[in-house]
Symmetry: C2
Subunit: 330 residues, 2 copies
């Protein structure tokens, strides 16, 4: 079990995150923990075993991003990474399809060691946070301790997530997504304990601009997760991963189209609302999509701002804007 | 099970080896496999688990030496090694006491993968031999499939081998050596199968110039090993690890003294003969110790030559000399 941030006198912001846009947002919020503690709940649906090691791509992206160690150019993995081990595995005709960097491997070896020693996923994530230098006031915690494994049903058959994402580069058209094991999963006790440490009333929950199908559903579909979050939440804010009809990175827009949805902020909003009725209070769209608010068939609390965090000057402004949105009850 | 060298029409030379002098001799013999196939039987007593990986120091030294990948200056590990993973583990305050190079780690990861997939130790060693480029005509095979773990009893208490060898740099004075699990071990079936593939009569067995207590006993003390070797052997040759009262490398001389023996070729000869009566036919001492032959209390078939394989020109000459010694029945 994770021991929560010692002094959570302010209610924390709870960010649900995948590995891309969510991790970037987590990095920005890691600089705001003086204003509000932040709990980042990470998707475990991408977790998989490789070379006997548990690899947690989304959790690790958040750890690297919030400790200032993410390779920003690539958007994943560690800055200043080297590939000596992978090269040597390749030279021995070993399993080298997964891009395993040396520094990254060091983290996986340490995680495996801790898990063997009896630590749970939350505990090892806490330890790695400390060792990597994630700022105090920020807790990174995987959504569940149980195994949830995202599998995609494509026009070419069912694939494990990494086969689809890395092996096939998201090429096969997607028909459905299943979260193997999710029916037996439950919200991380360490996450709930962290949420309950705050003594200053309800928390605010932010759905990061992550892929809804691949990053947020495997968190929100965990039995009990929605109600546990909702009953502690003053406000639930969802940030659109679709900007001007496109995803900044990753296959979110492509998948929406493959599933028969328009790739647009309104379609995303409707889809999330239909899947999780009554869960989200406030929808955040990019400035670029302001004109689409009128196309919504019923009134929503939509806020627009510049959400492209990679643009110079935007990220800090976006974080402050988000903290302000979350500073008052809906 | 290992498939033996296809055409063993010549009886193979069987070298029992630790990781130091034995591995050097294996490397020299790997260039003579056209003359005679060579089976290198490696000590497994130093094997241990680290970071969830099975590390086989002596087997790996032989694999690296015979594939031309050994770091000759250090005498262990891989040439051109890098340390990115170890540095990263250290930076995260992880377990970094064992010098785990990146290329070396790649091999351990592959071994672990193969073992998980159901391969036995001989099978994975065979695969790694091929992948590293150990010459055809040479088989490297661990002495047993069962776990044998060397532990040393020192004046400071009992230590696991790596604690003593790496952690304490062989400093504590040694009182005894035990081979945990050896009573339940048996000679590797793949080794026996390889020995039996030869169709041209009995093999010759060479005890490499390895540490008797730490490298050869954990092979020879395996129940059944002596008789299995002896019944197939035309000649058993033992090469002294003590030259001019010293070991070229490692603690063999220091241990002899700690165990109350003189550090000398004759004392080594007596000790081996007493421990394994009737096993060795021919004793090989370095030229430097020729004068000590007269000190033996009874006649032995002692041969002398220049055995310092690191000296220029010596190694190939020593191999040819050894092949000649082994070319006739004792």
């Amino acid at each position: 079990m994770v021991s929560a941030v010692d002094d959570m006198s302010q209610a924390p912001l709870v960010l649900l995150s995948g590995g891309g846009g969510g991790a970037l947002l987590a990095a920005i919020l890691s600089k705001c923990t003086v204003q509000r503690p932040v709990i980042v709940v990470t998707n475990t649906g991408d977790d998989f075993e490789h070379l006997g090691l548990l690899i947690c791509p989304d959790t690790d992206s958040v750890l690297y991003a919030t400790s200032g160690k993410l390779d920003r150019a690539k958007g994943w993995g560690r800055e200043g990474e080297s590939w000596q081990v992978l090269d040597a595995i390749q030279a021995m005709a070993g399993p080298s399809w997964f891009q395993l960097g040396d520094k990254d491997l060091a983290l996986h070896l340490m995680r495996a060691e801790q898990l063997r020693d009896g630590s749970d996923l939350a505990g090892v994530t806490q330890l790695l946070s400390e060792r990597l230098g994630v700022p105090e006031g920020m807790i990174v915690v995987p959504a569940t301790e149980q195994s949830v494994r995202t599998r995609v049903v494509t026009e070419e058959g069912e694939l494990a997530f990494q086969e689809y994402f890395v092996g096939r580069r998201c090429e096969p058209a997607l028909r459905d997504v299943v979260y193997e094991g999710i029916e037996g999963a439950s919200p991380s006790p360490s996450m709930l304990a962290a949420l309950d440490t705050c003594i200053d009333g309800p928390v605010d929950v932010v759905l990061g601009p992550s892929n809804p199908f691949l990053s947020l559903c495997p968190i929100l579909d965990i039995p009990g997760m929605l109600s546990e979050l909702r009953k502690r939440a003053r406000r639930v804010v969802a940030i659109s991963p679709i900007i001007g009809g496109r995803a900044l990175k990753g296959p979110a827009a492509k998948i929406m189209i493959e599933l028969g949805l328009p790739a647009s902020a309104p379609a995303w909003t409707q889809w999330v609302k239909q899947r999780y009725p009554g869960f989200v209070d406030t929808w955040v769209w990019d400035e670029m999509d302001r004109g689409l608010i009128a196309t919504l068939s019923e009134p929503h609390d939509v806020r627009v701002t510049d959400t492209v965090m990679s643009k110079p000057g935007v990220s800090a402004a976006f974080a402050q804007w988000l903290l302000e949105v979350c500073s008052v009850a809906p």
